[in-house]
Amino acid sequence: MIDIAGPPLATLSPAVAEVSSGDTGWVLAASALVLIMTPALGFFYGGMVRRKNVAATIMQSFIIVALISVQWVLFGYSLAFGPDKGGFIGGLEWAGLRNVGLEPSDTYGTTIPHQAFMVFQLMFAIITPALITGAFAERIKFKAFLVFILAWSTFVYDPIAHWVWGSGGWLFKLGALDFAGGTVVHISSGFAALMAALVMRRRLGYGREPMEPGNVPFIVLGAALLWFGWFGFNAGSALASGALATSAFVVTNTSAAMAALTWMTMTWWLGGKPSVIGAACGAVAGLVAITPASGFVTPMAAVLIGLGAGVFCYLACRLRAKMGLDDSLDVWGCHGIGGIWGAIATGLFATVAVNAAGRDGLFYGNPGQVGIQLAAVGASMAYSFVGTFIILKVIDKVWGLHVNEEEERAGLDLAQHGERAYEMQGL
Protein backbone atom coordinates (compact mmCIF):
# COMPACT_ATOMS: atom_id res chain seq x y z
CA MET A 1 0.00 0.00 0.00
CA ILE A 2 2.60 2.45 -0.93
CA ASP A 3 1.29 5.59 -2.52
CA ILE A 4 3.70 7.04 -4.91
CA ALA A 5 3.33 9.11 -8.00
CA GLY A 6 2.87 7.41 -11.32
CA PRO A 7 1.16 4.19 -12.16
CA PRO A 8 1.58 1.44 -9.59
CA LEU A 9 4.75 -0.48 -10.22
CA ALA A 10 2.90 -3.73 -10.49
CA THR A 11 0.98 -2.68 -13.54
CA LEU A 12 4.24 -2.46 -15.35
CA SER A 13 4.78 -6.16 -15.01
CA PRO A 14 1.40 -7.86 -15.23
CA ALA A 15 3.10 -11.00 -16.43
CA VAL A 16 4.40 -11.87 -12.97
CA ALA A 17 1.17 -13.39 -11.75
CA GLU A 18 2.46 -16.18 -9.62
CA VAL A 19 1.34 -16.64 -6.01
CA SER A 20 4.22 -16.51 -3.52
CA SER A 21 3.50 -18.89 -0.67
CA GLY A 22 5.70 -16.87 1.72
CA ASP A 23 4.03 -13.57 0.94
CA THR A 24 0.55 -15.06 1.02
CA GLY A 25 1.21 -16.67 4.38
CA TRP A 26 2.36 -13.37 5.80
CA VAL A 27 -0.58 -11.42 4.39
CA LEU A 28 -3.07 -13.96 5.72
CA ALA A 29 -1.42 -13.88 9.13
CA ALA A 30 -1.43 -10.09 8.98
CA SER A 31 -5.12 -10.11 8.05
CA ALA A 32 -5.91 -12.22 11.07
CA LEU A 33 -3.88 -9.83 13.21
CA VAL A 34 -5.79 -6.84 11.89
CA LEU A 35 -9.10 -8.59 12.37
CA ILE A 36 -8.51 -8.94 16.10
CA MET A 37 -7.87 -5.19 16.31
CA THR A 38 -11.53 -4.30 16.00
CA PRO A 39 -12.79 -6.40 18.90
CA ALA A 40 -9.69 -5.15 20.71
CA LEU A 41 -10.89 -1.64 20.04
CA GLY A 42 -14.20 -2.69 21.49
CA PHE A 43 -12.44 -3.55 24.74
CA PHE A 44 -10.31 -0.41 24.62
CA TYR A 45 -13.45 1.68 24.32
CA GLY A 46 -15.60 -0.63 26.41
CA GLY A 47 -13.26 -0.25 29.35
CA MET A 48 -13.50 3.52 29.16
CA VAL A 49 -17.25 3.82 29.42
CA ARG A 50 -19.28 3.34 32.55
CA ARG A 51 -20.23 -0.19 33.42
CA LYS A 52 -23.81 0.26 32.32
CA ASN A 53 -22.59 0.74 28.75
CA VAL A 54 -19.72 -1.66 28.45
CA ALA A 55 -21.50 -4.45 26.58
CA ALA A 56 -23.13 -2.02 24.17
CA THR A 57 -19.82 -0.37 23.44
CA ILE A 58 -18.06 -3.65 22.80
CA MET A 59 -21.01 -4.67 20.67
CA GLN A 60 -20.58 -1.67 18.41
CA SER A 61 -17.10 -2.75 17.41
CA PHE A 62 -18.03 -6.40 17.19
CA ILE A 63 -21.04 -5.93 14.97
CA ILE A 64 -19.08 -3.63 12.67
CA VAL A 65 -16.79 -6.56 11.93
CA ALA A 66 -19.85 -8.45 10.75
CA LEU A 67 -21.55 -5.60 8.97
CA ILE A 68 -18.60 -4.39 6.96
CA SER A 69 -17.42 -7.90 6.15
CA VAL A 70 -20.67 -8.38 4.29
CA GLN A 71 -20.77 -4.88 2.80
CA TRP A 72 -17.24 -5.28 1.50
CA VAL A 73 -17.90 -8.57 -0.24
CA LEU A 74 -21.16 -7.33 -1.71
CA PHE A 75 -20.05 -3.94 -3.01
CA GLY A 76 -17.62 -2.10 -0.73
CA TYR A 77 -14.46 -3.59 -2.17
CA SER A 78 -15.66 -2.84 -5.64
CA LEU A 79 -16.37 0.79 -4.78
CA ALA A 80 -12.96 1.23 -3.23
CA PHE A 81 -10.73 -0.79 -5.51
CA GLY A 82 -12.85 -1.61 -8.55
CA PRO A 83 -12.11 -0.12 -11.97
CA ASP A 84 -11.54 3.62 -11.52
CA LYS A 85 -14.27 6.12 -12.36
CA GLY A 86 -12.73 9.53 -12.76
CA GLY A 87 -10.26 9.18 -9.92
CA PHE A 88 -13.08 9.43 -7.41
CA ILE A 89 -14.63 6.02 -6.98
CA GLY A 90 -14.38 2.43 -8.14
CA GLY A 91 -17.05 0.92 -10.34
CA LEU A 92 -19.39 -1.89 -9.41
CA GLU A 93 -17.78 -4.33 -11.80
CA TRP A 94 -16.34 -6.25 -8.86
CA ALA A 95 -19.53 -6.32 -6.77
CA GLY A 96 -20.10 -9.68 -5.12
CA LEU A 97 -16.40 -10.28 -5.75
CA ARG A 98 -17.00 -10.96 -9.40
CA ASN A 99 -13.59 -10.95 -11.06
CA VAL A 100 -11.87 -11.06 -7.69
CA GLY A 101 -10.34 -14.47 -7.76
CA LEU A 102 -7.53 -16.54 -6.40
CA GLU A 103 -4.94 -15.45 -8.96
CA PRO A 104 -3.00 -12.31 -8.15
CA SER A 105 -4.48 -9.05 -9.29
CA ASP A 106 -2.38 -7.32 -11.91
CA THR A 107 -2.61 -4.12 -9.89
CA TYR A 108 -2.75 -4.80 -6.18
CA GLY A 109 -0.42 -7.15 -4.33
CA THR A 110 0.85 -8.94 -7.35
CA THR A 111 2.41 -11.89 -5.56
CA ILE A 112 -0.62 -12.91 -3.53
CA PRO A 113 -4.11 -14.06 -4.50
CA HIS A 114 -6.38 -11.15 -5.32
CA GLN A 115 -8.75 -12.30 -2.57
CA ALA A 116 -5.90 -12.10 -0.07
CA PHE A 117 -5.44 -8.44 -0.94
CA MET A 118 -9.20 -7.98 -0.75
CA VAL A 119 -9.49 -9.54 2.69
CA PHE A 120 -6.49 -7.63 4.04
CA GLN A 121 -8.09 -4.41 2.82
CA LEU A 122 -11.37 -5.49 4.37
CA MET A 123 -9.80 -5.38 7.80
CA PHE A 124 -8.98 -1.71 7.28
CA ALA A 125 -12.49 -1.01 6.08
CA ILE A 126 -13.75 -2.60 9.29
CA ILE A 127 -11.65 -0.80 11.82
CA THR A 128 -12.01 2.68 10.39
CA PRO A 129 -15.70 3.21 11.14
CA ALA A 130 -15.23 1.34 14.41
CA LEU A 131 -12.81 4.03 15.53
CA ILE A 132 -15.55 6.64 15.25
CA THR A 133 -17.76 4.87 17.77
CA GLY A 134 -15.74 6.43 20.58
CA ALA A 135 -17.22 9.81 19.71
CA PHE A 136 -20.85 9.00 20.36
CA ALA A 137 -20.36 6.35 23.00
CA GLU A 138 -22.94 5.91 25.74
CA ARG A 139 -25.76 7.72 23.96
CA ILE A 140 -26.47 6.59 20.39
CA LYS A 141 -29.45 4.51 19.38
CA PHE A 142 -28.33 1.14 18.09
CA LYS A 143 -30.42 1.34 14.95
CA ALA A 144 -29.12 4.81 14.08
CA PHE A 145 -25.65 3.50 14.75
CA LEU A 146 -26.04 0.65 12.28
CA VAL A 147 -27.34 2.92 9.55
CA PHE A 148 -24.60 5.43 10.20
CA ILE A 149 -21.86 2.85 9.91
CA LEU A 150 -23.20 1.41 6.71
CA ALA A 151 -23.67 4.82 5.13
CA TRP A 152 -20.35 6.21 6.33
CA SER A 153 -18.47 3.18 5.07
CA THR A 154 -20.09 3.37 1.71
CA PHE A 155 -20.12 7.11 1.13
CA VAL A 156 -17.07 8.26 3.04
CA TYR A 157 -14.60 5.43 3.55
CA ASP A 158 -14.89 3.69 0.21
CA PRO A 159 -14.29 6.87 -1.82
CA ILE A 160 -11.35 8.04 0.30
CA ALA A 161 -9.80 4.59 0.14
CA HIS A 162 -10.17 4.79 -3.60
CA TRP A 163 -8.52 8.21 -3.80
CA VAL A 164 -5.50 7.14 -1.84
CA TRP A 165 -5.03 3.46 -2.59
CA GLY A 166 -7.17 2.70 -5.62
CA SER A 167 -5.26 2.53 -8.86
CA GLY A 168 -6.36 5.71 -10.61
CA GLY A 169 -7.31 7.47 -7.37
CA TRP A 170 -6.48 11.16 -7.50
CA LEU A 171 -4.51 11.39 -4.25
CA PHE A 172 -2.63 8.31 -5.30
CA LYS A 173 -1.57 10.14 -8.41
CA LEU A 174 -0.62 13.23 -6.48
CA GLY A 175 2.22 11.34 -4.81
CA ALA A 176 1.13 11.44 -1.20
CA LEU A 177 2.96 8.96 1.01
CA ASP A 178 0.66 6.91 3.20
CA PHE A 179 2.07 3.50 3.91
CA ALA A 180 -0.64 1.95 6.00
CA GLY A 181 -3.52 4.36 6.23
CA GLY A 182 -2.85 7.56 8.13
CA THR A 183 -5.13 9.51 5.86
CA VAL A 184 -7.65 6.89 4.91
CA VAL A 185 -8.07 5.35 8.32
CA HIS A 186 -7.13 7.82 10.99
CA ILE A 187 -7.79 11.25 9.62
CA SER A 188 -11.07 10.24 8.07
CA SER A 189 -12.30 8.61 11.27
CA GLY A 190 -10.82 11.26 13.54
CA PHE A 191 -12.63 14.08 11.83
CA ALA A 192 -15.81 12.10 11.48
CA ALA A 193 -15.61 11.76 15.25
CA LEU A 194 -15.15 15.47 15.70
CA MET A 195 -18.22 16.12 13.62
CA ALA A 196 -20.20 13.53 15.53
CA ALA A 197 -19.25 15.25 18.78
CA LEU A 198 -20.40 18.56 17.33
CA VAL A 199 -23.68 17.25 16.00
CA MET A 200 -24.75 15.08 18.92
CA ARG A 201 -25.75 16.31 22.33
CA ARG A 202 -23.41 15.56 25.17
CA ARG A 203 -23.92 12.75 27.61
CA LEU A 204 -26.28 13.57 30.47
CA GLY A 205 -24.32 14.95 33.36
CA TYR A 206 -21.24 15.52 31.23
CA GLY A 207 -18.94 17.92 33.01
CA ARG A 208 -20.88 17.60 36.26
CA GLU A 209 -20.92 13.96 37.13
CA PRO A 210 -17.71 11.98 37.11
CA MET A 211 -17.61 9.52 34.25
CA GLU A 212 -15.22 7.04 35.70
CA PRO A 213 -13.97 4.37 33.31
CA GLY A 214 -15.74 1.13 34.06
CA ASN A 215 -12.92 -1.33 33.58
CA VAL A 216 -9.30 -0.26 33.28
CA PRO A 217 -7.97 -3.78 32.64
CA PHE A 218 -10.16 -3.94 29.54
CA ILE A 219 -8.58 -0.70 28.31
CA VAL A 220 -5.13 -2.20 28.63
CA LEU A 221 -6.28 -5.50 27.13
CA GLY A 222 -7.63 -3.60 24.17
CA ALA A 223 -4.50 -1.50 23.80
CA ALA A 224 -2.26 -4.55 24.02
CA LEU A 225 -4.22 -6.43 21.39
CA LEU A 226 -4.27 -3.32 19.21
CA TRP A 227 -0.51 -3.12 19.48
CA PHE A 228 -0.23 -6.80 18.64
CA GLY A 229 -2.58 -6.49 15.69
CA TRP A 230 -0.95 -3.32 14.43
CA PHE A 231 2.06 -5.35 13.41
CA GLY A 232 -0.25 -6.89 10.84
CA PHE A 233 -1.66 -3.49 9.97
CA ASN A 234 1.68 -1.86 9.24
CA ALA A 235 4.10 -4.67 8.48
CA GLY A 236 1.38 -6.43 6.52
CA SER A 237 0.97 -3.35 4.37
CA ALA A 238 4.24 -4.30 2.70
CA LEU A 239 2.04 -7.01 1.14
CA ALA A 240 5.10 -9.25 1.30
CA SER A 241 7.44 -10.66 3.90
CA GLY A 242 11.01 -9.38 3.99
CA ALA A 243 13.02 -6.26 4.63
CA LEU A 244 10.25 -3.70 4.20
CA ALA A 245 7.88 -5.63 6.46
CA THR A 246 10.65 -5.90 9.04
CA SER A 247 11.33 -2.20 8.93
CA ALA A 248 7.66 -1.40 9.31
CA PHE A 249 7.45 -3.82 12.23
CA VAL A 250 10.36 -2.19 14.04
CA VAL A 251 9.27 1.41 13.65
CA THR A 252 5.72 0.52 14.61
CA ASN A 253 6.86 -0.95 17.88
CA THR A 254 9.24 1.91 18.58
CA SER A 255 6.74 4.67 18.01
CA ALA A 256 4.08 2.97 20.11
CA ALA A 257 6.53 2.52 22.94
CA MET A 258 7.80 6.07 22.89
CA ALA A 259 4.32 7.54 22.72
CA ALA A 260 3.13 5.40 25.63
CA LEU A 261 6.01 6.65 27.76
CA THR A 262 5.44 10.22 26.66
CA TRP A 263 1.71 10.33 27.26
CA MET A 264 2.18 8.73 30.65
CA THR A 265 4.79 11.32 31.50
CA MET A 266 2.48 14.12 30.40
CA THR A 267 -0.25 12.87 32.72
CA TRP A 268 2.30 12.62 35.50
CA TRP A 269 3.42 16.16 34.92
CA LEU A 270 0.08 17.85 34.25
CA GLY A 271 -2.21 15.56 36.18
CA GLY A 272 -0.05 14.62 39.14
CA LYS A 273 0.02 10.87 38.63
CA PRO A 274 1.20 8.54 35.88
CA SER A 275 -2.02 7.34 34.34
CA VAL A 276 -2.54 3.74 33.30
CA ILE A 277 -5.17 4.80 30.82
CA GLY A 278 -2.72 7.42 29.60
CA ALA A 279 -0.10 4.80 28.87
CA ALA A 280 -2.66 2.80 26.91
CA CYS A 281 -3.90 5.83 24.98
CA GLY A 282 -0.33 6.86 24.32
CA ALA A 283 0.49 3.53 22.78
CA VAL A 284 -2.49 3.85 20.48
CA ALA A 285 -1.54 7.42 19.55
CA GLY A 286 1.98 6.27 18.71
CA LEU A 287 0.60 3.50 16.56
CA VAL A 288 -1.65 5.95 14.78
CA ALA A 289 1.14 8.42 14.08
CA ILE A 290 3.56 5.85 12.71
CA THR A 291 0.96 4.32 10.43
CA PRO A 292 1.48 6.48 7.32
CA ALA A 293 5.23 6.64 7.96
CA SER A 294 5.81 3.00 8.77
CA GLY A 295 7.27 2.00 5.41
CA PHE A 296 9.49 5.03 4.99
CA VAL A 297 11.31 5.95 8.18
CA THR A 298 14.13 4.75 10.41
CA PRO A 299 13.79 3.56 14.01
CA MET A 300 15.28 6.78 15.35
CA ALA A 301 12.72 8.80 13.40
CA ALA A 302 10.11 6.54 14.97
CA VAL A 303 11.31 7.61 18.41
CA LEU A 304 10.62 11.21 17.49
CA ILE A 305 7.31 10.42 15.84
CA GLY A 306 6.22 8.61 18.98
CA LEU A 307 7.37 11.50 21.13
CA GLY A 308 5.35 13.93 19.04
CA ALA A 309 2.31 11.67 19.16
CA GLY A 310 2.44 11.52 22.94
CA VAL A 311 2.69 15.28 23.31
CA PHE A 312 0.36 16.48 20.58
CA CYS A 313 -2.41 13.96 21.03
CA TYR A 314 -2.48 14.34 24.78
CA LEU A 315 -2.67 18.10 24.52
CA ALA A 316 -5.35 17.81 21.86
CA CYS A 317 -7.43 15.66 24.21
CA ARG A 318 -7.08 18.18 27.01
CA LEU A 319 -8.02 20.98 24.66
CA ARG A 320 -11.05 19.05 23.53
CA ALA A 321 -12.09 18.54 27.13
CA LYS A 322 -11.58 22.21 27.90
CA MET A 323 -13.83 23.17 25.02
CA GLY A 324 -16.55 21.06 26.59
CA LEU A 325 -16.83 18.90 23.51
CA ASP A 326 -18.04 15.41 24.28
CA ASP A 327 -15.95 13.34 21.89
CA SER A 328 -16.43 10.83 24.63
CA LEU A 329 -13.41 8.63 24.11
CA ASP A 330 -11.14 11.12 22.37
CA VAL A 331 -11.18 9.77 18.87
CA TRP A 332 -10.34 13.14 17.40
CA GLY A 333 -7.42 13.76 19.73
CA CYS A 334 -5.97 10.34 19.15
CA HIS A 335 -6.76 9.57 15.53
CA GLY A 336 -7.42 12.94 13.99
CA ILE A 337 -4.44 14.73 15.47
CA GLY A 338 -2.29 11.60 15.55
CA GLY A 339 -3.10 11.03 11.90
CA ILE A 340 -2.19 14.59 10.93
CA TRP A 341 1.03 14.46 12.88
CA GLY A 342 1.86 11.15 11.24
CA ALA A 343 1.16 12.47 7.77
CA ILE A 344 3.35 15.52 8.35
CA ALA A 345 6.05 13.47 10.04
CA THR A 346 6.10 11.22 7.00
CA GLY A 347 6.80 14.30 4.94
CA LEU A 348 9.60 15.19 7.32
CA PHE A 349 11.33 11.89 8.00
CA ALA A 350 10.73 9.71 4.94
CA THR A 351 13.87 8.45 3.29
CA VAL A 352 14.49 6.29 0.28
CA ALA A 353 17.24 4.65 2.26
CA VAL A 354 14.48 2.69 3.99
CA ASN A 355 12.21 2.21 1.00
CA ALA A 356 13.50 2.74 -2.49
CA ALA A 357 9.94 2.87 -3.79
CA GLY A 358 9.17 5.78 -1.46
CA ARG A 359 10.38 9.37 -1.46
CA ASP A 360 12.61 11.56 0.65
CA GLY A 361 11.07 13.96 3.13
CA LEU A 362 12.03 17.44 4.27
CA PHE A 363 14.93 16.31 6.43
CA TYR A 364 16.30 14.36 3.53
CA GLY A 365 16.19 17.30 1.18
CA ASN A 366 12.70 17.19 -0.28
CA PRO A 367 10.68 19.99 1.33
CA GLY A 368 7.91 19.66 -1.23
CA GLN A 369 6.76 16.38 0.25
CA VAL A 370 5.28 18.12 3.28
CA GLY A 371 2.99 20.09 1.03
CA ILE A 372 1.79 17.01 -0.76
CA GLN A 373 1.14 15.38 2.58
CA LEU A 374 -0.89 18.35 3.74
CA ALA A 375 -2.96 18.27 0.59
CA ALA A 376 -3.88 14.66 1.24
CA VAL A 377 -4.67 15.47 4.86
CA GLY A 378 -6.83 18.43 3.91
CA ALA A 379 -8.78 16.57 1.29
CA SER A 380 -9.71 13.56 3.39
CA MET A 381 -10.36 15.74 6.43
CA ALA A 382 -12.75 17.99 4.59
CA TYR A 383 -14.53 15.21 2.77
CA SER A 384 -15.01 13.15 5.90
CA PHE A 385 -16.10 16.18 7.89
CA VAL A 386 -18.80 17.16 5.44
CA GLY A 387 -19.89 13.64 4.61
CA THR A 388 -20.30 12.76 8.25
CA PHE A 389 -22.37 15.87 8.86
CA ILE A 390 -24.82 15.03 6.11
CA ILE A 391 -25.18 11.41 7.12
CA LEU A 392 -25.76 12.24 10.78
CA LYS A 393 -28.31 14.91 10.02
CA VAL A 394 -30.29 12.66 7.72
CA ILE A 395 -30.31 9.87 10.28
CA ASP A 396 -31.33 12.24 13.03
CA LYS A 397 -34.29 13.40 10.98
CA VAL A 398 -35.44 9.96 9.98
CA TRP A 399 -34.78 7.77 13.02
CA GLY A 400 -33.30 10.03 15.67
CA LEU A 401 -29.74 9.67 16.83
CA HIS A 402 -30.07 9.69 20.58
CA VAL A 403 -31.54 7.30 23.06
CA ASN A 404 -33.97 9.08 25.34
CA GLU A 405 -32.96 10.30 28.78
CA GLU A 406 -34.40 7.39 30.66
CA GLU A 407 -32.55 4.94 28.44
CA GLU A 408 -29.32 6.85 28.80
CA ARG A 409 -29.66 6.84 32.60
CA ALA A 410 -30.34 3.12 32.58
CA GLY A 411 -27.43 2.48 30.25
CA LEU A 412 -27.35 1.22 26.71
CA ASP A 413 -26.71 -2.36 27.76
CA LEU A 414 -30.17 -2.73 29.19
CA ALA A 415 -31.95 -0.10 27.16
CA GLN A 416 -30.72 -1.07 23.72
CA HIS A 417 -29.80 -4.71 24.07
CA GLY A 418 -31.73 -5.95 27.07
CA GLU A 419 -28.58 -7.43 28.52
CA ARG A 420 -26.49 -6.36 31.46
CA ALA A 421 -22.73 -6.70 30.99
CA TYR A 422 -22.25 -8.28 34.37
CA GLU A 423 -24.72 -10.41 36.24
CA MET A 424 -26.72 -8.33 38.62
CA GLN A 425 -25.28 -9.20 41.97
CA GLY A 426 -28.74 -9.56 43.32
CA LEU A 427 -27.30 -11.25 46.40
Partner: protein, 114 residues
Protein backbone atom coordinates in the same frame (compact mmCIF):
# COMPACT_ATOMS: atom_id res chain seq x y z
CA UNK B 1 -32.96 -3.02 76.43
CA UNK B 2 -30.34 -2.95 73.77
CA UNK B 3 -29.03 -0.34 71.46
CA UNK B 4 -27.99 -0.51 67.88
CA UNK B 5 -24.97 1.62 67.18
CA UNK B 6 -24.67 2.53 63.54
CA UNK B 7 -21.38 4.17 62.61
CA UNK B 8 -20.74 5.55 59.18
CA UNK B 9 -16.96 5.63 58.88
CA UNK B 10 -14.08 5.86 56.48
CA UNK B 11 -13.57 2.48 54.78
CA UNK B 12 -9.86 2.47 55.63
CA UNK B 13 -10.69 2.65 59.35
CA UNK B 14 -12.72 -0.54 59.49
CA UNK B 15 -9.71 -2.70 60.31
CA UNK B 16 -8.81 -0.39 63.21
CA UNK B 17 -12.19 -0.27 64.76
CA UNK B 18 -12.76 -4.00 64.39
CA UNK B 19 -9.57 -4.69 66.29
CA UNK B 20 -10.33 -2.12 68.96
CA UNK B 21 -13.80 -3.55 69.53
CA UNK B 22 -12.48 -7.10 69.69
CA UNK B 23 -9.93 -6.07 72.28
CA UNK B 24 -12.70 -4.60 74.40
CA UNK B 25 -14.68 -7.82 74.07
CA UNK B 26 -17.17 -6.75 71.43
CA UNK B 27 -17.00 -9.38 68.76
CA UNK B 28 -20.46 -9.24 67.27
CA UNK B 29 -20.86 -6.71 64.49
CA UNK B 30 -21.66 -6.35 60.84
CA UNK B 31 -20.65 -3.93 58.16
CA UNK B 32 -21.68 -2.92 54.68
CA UNK B 33 -20.61 -0.61 51.90
CA UNK B 34 -22.63 2.56 51.57
CA UNK B 35 -22.11 5.90 49.93
CA UNK B 36 -22.76 9.06 51.82
CA UNK B 37 -22.85 12.80 51.83
CA UNK B 38 -22.44 15.04 54.82
CA UNK B 39 -20.57 18.19 55.70
CA UNK B 40 -17.97 16.71 53.43
CA UNK B 41 -19.75 17.73 50.26
CA UNK B 42 -17.60 15.74 47.92
CA UNK B 43 -14.28 15.61 46.23
CA UNK B 44 -13.22 16.72 42.83
CA UNK B 45 -12.75 13.93 40.35
CA UNK B 46 -10.34 14.66 37.54
CA UNK B 47 -11.01 12.71 34.40
CA UNK B 48 -8.72 11.17 31.86
CA UNK B 49 -8.15 14.38 30.02
CA UNK B 50 -8.34 16.86 32.81
CA UNK B 51 -12.08 17.50 32.98
CA UNK B 52 -13.33 17.92 36.50
CA UNK B 53 -16.50 16.80 38.20
CA UNK B 54 -17.63 16.73 41.79
CA UNK B 55 -18.37 13.43 43.42
CA UNK B 56 -20.80 14.26 46.20
CA UNK B 57 -21.41 10.73 47.36
CA UNK B 58 -18.30 9.21 48.83
CA UNK B 59 -17.79 5.56 49.70
CA UNK B 60 -18.18 4.83 53.40
CA UNK B 61 -18.60 1.78 55.52
CA UNK B 62 -21.63 1.41 57.73
CA UNK B 63 -20.76 -0.55 60.83
CA UNK B 64 -23.52 -1.89 63.03
CA UNK B 65 -23.03 -3.15 66.55
CA UNK B 66 -25.89 -4.16 68.74
CA UNK B 67 -24.96 -3.81 72.44
CA UNK B 68 -26.47 -3.80 75.86
CA UNK B 69 -27.65 -0.34 76.83
CA UNK B 70 -25.01 -0.23 79.49
CA UNK B 71 -22.23 -0.68 76.96
CA UNK B 72 -23.37 1.99 74.56
CA UNK B 73 -21.12 4.74 75.79
CA UNK B 74 -18.06 2.53 75.84
CA UNK B 75 -18.61 1.34 72.32
CA UNK B 76 -19.23 4.85 71.02
CA UNK B 77 -16.03 5.88 72.66
CA UNK B 78 -14.04 3.05 71.11
CA UNK B 79 -15.41 3.80 67.66
CA UNK B 80 -14.77 7.50 67.99
CA UNK B 81 -11.19 6.96 68.97
CA UNK B 82 -10.48 4.37 66.31
CA UNK B 83 -11.98 6.44 63.52
CA UNK B 84 -11.10 10.01 64.29
CA UNK B 85 -8.63 11.75 62.03
CA UNK B 86 -9.95 15.22 62.79
CA UNK B 87 -10.59 15.91 59.15
CA UNK B 88 -13.95 16.35 57.49
CA UNK B 89 -15.44 13.04 56.50
CA UNK B 90 -14.73 11.16 59.73
CA UNK B 91 -18.35 10.12 59.89
CA UNK B 92 -21.30 9.88 62.21
CA UNK B 93 -22.60 7.53 64.84
CA UNK B 94 -26.30 7.01 65.41
CA UNK B 95 -27.86 5.12 68.29
CA UNK B 96 -31.31 3.56 68.15
CA UNK B 97 -33.31 1.25 70.34
CA UNK B 98 -33.45 -2.51 69.85
CA UNK B 99 -36.30 -4.35 71.46
CA UNK B 100 -35.27 -7.92 71.08
CA UNK B 101 -32.40 -10.09 69.90
CA UNK B 102 -32.54 -13.72 68.84
CA UNK B 103 -29.78 -16.22 68.18
CA UNK B 104 -30.94 -18.19 65.20
CA UNK B 105 -28.83 -21.23 66.00
CA UNK B 106 -30.48 -21.87 69.35
CA UNK B 107 -33.54 -19.68 69.50
CA UNK B 108 -32.19 -17.93 72.61
CA UNK B 109 -33.53 -14.45 73.27
CA UNK B 110 -32.45 -11.30 74.99
CA UNK B 111 -29.27 -9.40 75.47
CA UNK B 112 -27.23 -12.48 76.27
CA UNK B 113 -27.15 -13.40 72.64
CA UNK B 114 -25.23 -10.38 71.43
Amino acid sequence: MMHKIEAIIRPEKLENVKDALAKAGFHGLNAANVVGRGVQRGIVYEGRTGERATVDMLPKVKLEVVVREADTERVIDIIERACRTGKIGDGKIFVSPVLEAVRVRTGERGDSVI
